[in-house]
Symmetry: C2
Subunit: 181 residues, 2 copies
């Protein structure tokens, strides 16, 4: 049984997760009044994090380590240099999405946070995403790195919850309706 795979991400109203160069300057941090929009609660529910290469590059520019003792795997066909500070915290996986999940399952992982646009698109295309939480930021960027990509068929979703915050963010969670095999 593969682990449950969740997406938790912010986009502009026009569906971008970053500017063309990867910048996320348009993305506000935690709100002093509202808090973190459920991020810590979500993180508390996962026991592993799967990152795409670009997202890991971004993580490498940040101070500190945000994933606690969770198993963190970076997906990259070509390999990724892991900085000294991350040794023992990060493994790099060169295989396809299902193999990465099998490896995490073999380590007892039950709920994986899948992060990064290209990685999310690959997992969605292979039917490996179970739920998607999108926090929509009230801005149009006009260009950037899209959250979603091509699919071989429609993917039906089921809305689980939707709420708006006083600062204008809208956060919705959908369950992916997997076709019955």
């Amino acid at each position: 049984m593969r682990p449950r795979c969740s997406v938790y991400i912010a986009t502009s109203v026009d569906g971008f997760i970053a500017r063309p160069d990867g910048a996320i300057d348009w993305l506000p941090g935690p709100d002093p009044v509202i808090g973190d929009f459920g991020y810590e609660a979500f993180m508390a529910s996962v026991d592993a994090v799967l990152l795409g290469r670009s997202t890991y590059d971004l993580v490498c520019t940040m101070d500190g380590w945000h994933y606690g003792h969770r198993r963190v795997m970076v997906l990259s066909r070509r390999g990724v240099p892991v900085p000294e500070a991350h040794r023992g915290k990060v493994t790099v996986h060169a295989g396809p999405p299902a193999d990465a999940l099998a490896s995490l399952a073999a380590h007892g992982c039950k709920h994986v946070y899948v992060d990064g646009g290209v990685t999310i698109q690959a997992f969605l295309a292979e039917g490996l995403i179970d739920d998607i939480t999108i926090t929509t930021i009230p801005v149009l960027l006009g260009a950037g790195r899209p959250l979603f990509g091509a699919l071989s068929h429609d993917v039906r979703l089921e809305l689980q919850s939707s709420q708006s915050f006083a600062n204008g963010f809208v956060q919705s969670t959908w369950r992916v309706a997997h076709p019955v095999a």
Copy 2:
């Protein structure tokens, strides 16, 4: 003073308003229990409708006439053949967006429903949209005609309202924050 311009449209979660060939088969009609998701109330608030060429082609395939006595203008640089049944109901405008609005204003129009992806993108790019209501349908299409396009700069939005419906639709309305001149 130009008329207020509103967008009222449905998209997939990945931001498409139609499949690549223009099909909207994935878009459910009014719900027998929930109703029309506010469409008639919105229509009652507008006194003119501005359609792009593709949207008008779609309207031409539909039975009946859905715009009542409102002034309906089709934007097209190349001209559009208007079928017999629409004579006297539709005018075709070949000029740029601001000219079309000036023409509607000269006829006393105060609130315009701007419809069609290409047309909405052109109006947004020129700062002529005042509010945007998007009803998000719980499906990923993977490809199609996008609601949004390129912009020369960020467009800040202000959330006015957001609600979800029992069938899983999420409807949000944003006001466009026009920069102070």
